[in-house]
Symmetry: C2
């Protein structure tokens, strides 16, 4: 088996370190900035992500006006209340969580799906939502790159997309998918914040891997891996 | 601004290298294997991806039976023909593309959305498809880790999900999102294969970044970045 494409051990370790240490951050240091060239490097990382049929469905709107940031925060707060009501018995627990760092983070981006996506049939004729999957891939590049640069990133999806679309003057057919908080943090959570806060916990790997059919035991897995 | 969270230069470079060199592979070396511990490491990388509300919606079905692999290949071939017909004037061009390496790749995984997702409201009450985005994030971890390990990965979404679900005996509510080809390759494409084959090209970064509203010029970007 050719091994020439494998990275040196220290380089592979760096990638796995970023994967393990990346967190969905909600606690940002206020009053900070991100150098434009660094922000551009992170956007480049996202833009080099894969996309179904190479359609590149992502559009990034950088929020620079304080009033617009406040309006977006208000959108999120409205949906936070709606989500709480929909959660039934977990309502109070949910309301105690900090679900966003929109007011404090150095940079705020709205990540949107572009308009005119219907013509992109390659790889999404039967699954139009593959464009959403592609944006997930792209943002993971940005998320990991940010961690390596020492910056926190938080993906906020607690909003009504139509409200955010109106604020950003999106064309018909375009749709917001993420409010992305980016910026310096005091510290990264040792484990996912939602696990720290006991909202949920990481499942054992063996719970999510099957052989050949749903529920088929993957006996080749070793150890207690999470 | 605290810089202590930033990785050493060589480690950051390694991450950006993986981001830049990762490709959607369709050409795999036949007759190869992937050591189980390596496959597990890749799945772990995916499993450490972010997920909306920490819901961890991904399930991985490893395909070990040759007959099942052939059936899945047949699904993809059927949809490849359907997609071609839907493409109109680009039909012939599309049919010349190699869109999958299912028969040759060392390992084949079906990545599915789990059943019972409707109860996960946190972060997806207004956007249920955030679970799809999460799977994209998880698979990007796997994709980058595989590149660092010297392995190619290709995401195939050219299939009718109901057909694949039946073959894998997925429960009601679960849904396949990807057929993932993983394995050694002779070489990684110098640029995305679809760009090499002139299907599409990478847009300039300035085309996908706006300030404050759709279409607002992001004048802070520098250089001709792609």
């Amino acid at each position: 088996m050719p091994s020439s494409h494998r990275y040196p051990d220290t380089d592979r370790a760096a990638l796995y370190r970023a994967i393990a240490e990346r967190r969905d951050m909600r606690h940002f240091l206020p009053g900070q900035t991100v150098a434009p060239e660094l922000l551009q490097r992170l956007l480049q990382a996202a833009h080099w992500g894969p996309s179904v049929g190479f359609m590149q469905p992502w559009r990034f709107v950088r929020i620079t006006r304080p009033a617009l940031r406040e309006q977006l925060h208000a959108c999120v707060e409205r949906e936070r209340q709606q989500t709480a009501q929909a959660l039934g018995e977990r309502q109070a627990e949910f309301l105690r969580l900090k679900v966003e760092g929109i007011r404090e983070c150095a940079e705020l981006l709205a990540v949107c799906l572009a308009d005119g996506r219907e013509r992109h049939v390659f790889g999404r004729r039967t699954m139009p939502y593959m464009d959403v999957a592609s944006v997930g891939c792209a943002l993971q590049n940005l998320w990991l790159a940010a961690r390596a640069e020492g910056l926190g990133v938080g993906w906020v999806s607690v909003f009504e997309p139509a409200e955010v679309a109106a604020l950003l003057q999106l064309p018909e057919g375009a749709s917001p998918l993420a409010l992305l908080c980016i910026g310096p943090v005091a510290a990264f959570y040792d484990e996912p914040m939602l696990q720290q806060q006991r909202w949920a916990s990481r499942a054992p790997l063996a719970d999510v891997v099957f052989d050949d059919a749903w529920g088929g035991a993957a006996n080749w897995l070793t150890g207690d891996t999470y």
